[in-house]
């Protein structure tokens, strides 16, 4: 399906196809990784572009073992709450490094979203709307990539998803925005395969192959005016060529040892480090999936494991983004499909719970060191400032300076960018 669309940002009007096609070898030479990795250049980038990092804690993080601990409550579990950089704010002892970044975070303790199914919950949190059989809506990645656009000079895709586990969206997330808004998916956060040109194909032969393909594309298009849509097809080849030239970017082993040590030795640590490099390099939307928190048994042991992987690299990433001047222009969201039951089951697990749970966000357009909402003593219900998925979706747009009340135009039909019945959460907006 093709579409025309109208969003508030002028940046999105840039043709990504055109931008990709316009990157010359000379430009790539000037914009090599080392120069863009420098903090000064990153800071320049920060002023020119807004980016998004979504950390998706797949399977549903327990709010009680993270952002809304209830030590001493029957539902509280065995872990302590520890103080943070924000006076009066305590989070789980499983997050000691993150506690030292709390002054940069907005902690939302009153998510009440009503959907406790993994697939439906992911759809809800990613689109701000319940699943509608009659209409698909773009997920955050394609929606914000579309709205924010992508810098002309960036040789990289605008949307990258480091996917771990089996809970991806399998291309459904773009809805009517078209395949060019889909994520470049990096399974396990590993570099794309085949980044090196085969040894038996010379650079000249490779160039000739590309020119031949372009000619055939043009002929195909010219014979089918107004019908042929080869954009996504051509884009995939362009993107592959660009990625081959950027392969050094994916090699986090090239990062200084001290820097790598700050992110730790886990897969998630390496993915956070790569996320930083991608954001520095101007990728508009980066999603990192950390799996899996769906702890129906042994919840406390599994949260010890998973948050033990999450804590240090996430804190290092927030700190790095701040130190490099990128946090103010990068929206960071950490969330799941829903939360977990305050009631602890007989197998020491927590089950699915969407009535009262927590998430955090930071960076672009948001206040740091704030806590929004409250839950009751045992964590079963929101007692102050419940927030919905629709409100959160509006909030991410507003934080980035975008207007979520605009419409997409799909075959001349207006489709609201965000749920028209919701509004942004003003208390956490800067």
């Amino acid at each position: 399906m093709t579409h025309s669309s109208c969003c508030p940002s002028h940046e999105h009007r840039r043709s990504r196809r055109r931008f990709l096609a316009g990157v010359s070898a000379g430009t790539l030479g000037v914009l090599g990784f080392r120069s863009l990795a420098a903090p000064a250049v990153a800071a320049q980038l920060a002023g020119a572009q807004k980016r998004v990092l979504l950390v998706w804690l797949s399977g549903a993080l327990s709010q009680l073992e993270s952002w809304d601990p209830k030590p001493g409550a029957e539902t509280g579990g065995p872990y302590r709450a520890i103080p943070t950089m924000v006076p009066g704010l305590h989070i789980s002892e499983l997050l000691p490094h993150t506690a030292r970044q709390a002054h940069r975070l907005a902690v939302l303790r009153s998510a009440s979203t009503g959907v406790a199914d993994h697939v439906l919950g992911r759809t809800l949190m990613q689109t701000g709307r319940r699943l509608d059989p009659a209409q698909s809506y773009p997920h955050l990645g394609p929606a914000l990539f579309h709205a924010l656009g992508h810098p002309r000079e960036s040789p990289l895709p605008g949307h990258v998803h480091m996917l771990t586990g089996d809970f991806g969206d399998a291309g459904r997330e773009v809805a009517f925005l078209g395949p060019e808004r889909a994520a470049l998916v990096l399974p396990e956060g590993k570099p794309p395969a085949n980044l090196h040109r085969p040894g038996d194909i010379s650079a000249q032969a490779d160039q000739q192959r590309r020119e031949l393909r372009d000619r055939l594309d043009n002929q195909f298009r010219q014979k089918r005016p107004g019908v042929a849509d080869t954009k996504a097809y051509a884009l995939s080849f362009d993107q592959a060529a660009q990625l081959m030239q950027q392969r050094q970017l994916f090699d986090t082993d090239g990062e200084p040892t001290r820097s790598r040590d700050r992110y730790g030795s886990t897969d998630f640590g390496r993915q956070c480090l790569l996320a930083r490099r991608l954001l520095e390099r101007g990728v508009t939307f980066v999603e990192v999936t950390h799996a899996n928190y769906d702890s129906h048994t042994d919840n406390f042991e599994f949260h010890r494991q998973k948050l033990g992987e999450f804590d240090q690299p996430f804190a290092a990433l927030i700190d790095d983004l701040h130190q490099r001047g990128l946090l103010a222009s990068t929206l960071v969201v950490v969330m799941s499909e829903f939360g977990r039951t305050p009631k602890i089951n007989l197998a020491l697990g927590r089950d699915h719970w969407a009535a009262a749970w927590s998430l955090v966000a930071a960076g672009c357009g948001l206040r740091g060191g704030v806590v929004l909402g409250k839950t009751n003593a045992d964590g079963t219900a929101v007692t102050e400032r419940p927030v919905s998925a629709g409100q959160l979706f509006h909030t991410w747009f507003r934080a980035l300076g975008l207007n979520p009340t605009e419409n997409y135009r799909v075959n001349e039909r207006p489709i609201p960018v965000a749920d028209p019945n919701a509004t942004a959460i003003q208390e956490i907006l800067a």
Partner: protein
């Protein structure tokens, strides 16, 4: 304390005899050496004491987190919690609820297990900080710190000779330590109880019980095998039985009938059998069981279905009854001899 003459424990006679209820799920239990009381650690941060004869319950308050590890040392009950605290409770305080005589920070993070030396002078603890520590029971001073595990320590036990102790971690690494010198001597391999689940990206494991036979010739490390869904608790109960002299696995003790869930508690019975208990996840129907194994034989020779999942067990000194700490908050007492023969 031996069984009265002529009365013999027979696992095939095992049946529920009595229950003692609490309002919070229980994590561990131990019957005191006199056989008059059972103590249990609970998820409401309390230690519970029941007089077995009268059923009188007393709640001991002093912990600020869940209590799992319990052991007796002379005139004290020692208990450990998930905040890493180790408490001494006087056993001679009469009918009332005693106050802790001592409260020390033993570990950073959860204290998962503790054990008292055969002579009652030392207590060893293991926790999520991956360290094993040896303490003086008399004054709570640190005797040895035993680093070496790379994972949280789930269990500890003294060899009956009192000269060696063992510690076992989440990955099934069992370390043997020299008590006097505080030195590591060798490792045993219980990794059959561990699996990294590549689908759900979580590690299922943990040596949930660690027990020597009375003569010290065998060591049992209990937990779970056949992990297929770690987060859902889809696994089967299993225990690695070691020959102590060689350190080799001599048997893998398995449930006889299909059961989903790990084994949480185990004990050696002087009549020559092992007994274990466990509980299943709700997705697999929950429930619990007792399993009995003869000596080194692999499959359980008898199974008793329990009304609720069992998280720990403790034999009474006469060997004719067994206390099980259940996930529903009850300690249940099971007779192990024919009804007519019970004293």
């Amino acid at each position: 304390m031996d069984a009265p003459a002529g009365i013999k424990a027979e696992p095939t006679q095992a049946r529920l005899a009595r229950e003692y209820k609490h309002t919070s799920p229980l994590l561990g239990c131990r019957v005191d050496p006199s056989g008059k009381c059972v103590f249990a650690g609970a998820q409401d941060n309390r230690v519970l004491r029941w007089e077995l004869e009268t059923g009188k319950k007393t709640a001991l308050s002093g912990h600020k987190s869940w209590v799992r590890g319990l052991a007796f040392a002379g005139k004290y009950l020692l208990s450990g919690d998930y905040h890493g605290r180790l408490l001494w409770w006087p056993l001679d305080a009469g009918d009332g609820a005693p106050e802790p005589a001592r409260n020390i920070e033993a570990h950073a993070g959860a204290l998962q297990a503790l054990a008292v030396s055969p002579n009652g002078q030392l207590v060893t603890t293991g926790g999520n900080d991956g360290v094993v520590r040896l303490w003086s029971v008399a004054d709570g001073t640190l005797v040895h710190e035993l680093p070496g595990h790379e994972e949280p320590v789930w269990n500890v036990a003294f060899h009956p000779d009192g000269k060696q102790l063992v510690s076992a971690d989440h990955k099934g690494v069992v370390k043997v330590w020299d008590v006097a010198g505080g030195k590591a001597r060798r490792d045993l391999d219980a990794s059959a109880l561990y699996k990294y689940d590549t689908k759900f990206r979580a590690a299922g494991g943990g040596v949930r019980s660690l027990v020597f036979s009375a003569d010290g010739s065998r060591l049992l490390a209990a937990g779970a095998i056949n992990w297929t869904n770690t987060l859902g608790g889809i696994c089967n109960p299993g225990a690695v039985l070691f020959d102590w002299a060689s350190g080799k696995q001599v048997q893998l003790l398995l449930a006889k009938e299909a059961f989903t869930g790990p084994m949480w508690g185990a004990a050696w019975h002087s009549a020559g059998f092992w007994v274990g208990t466990g509980l299943g996840p709700a997705v697999a129907g929950g429930g619990g069981a007792l399993w009995f194994w003869k000596g080194d034989q692999g499959p359980a020779f008898h199974t008793v279905k329990l009304p609720q999942g069992g998280r720990d067990l403790s034999l009474l000194p006469d060997g004719l009854r067994l206390a099980v700490a259940h996930a529903d908050g009850a300690v249940r007492l099971y007779d192990l001899a024919a009804k007519a023969a019970m004293p």
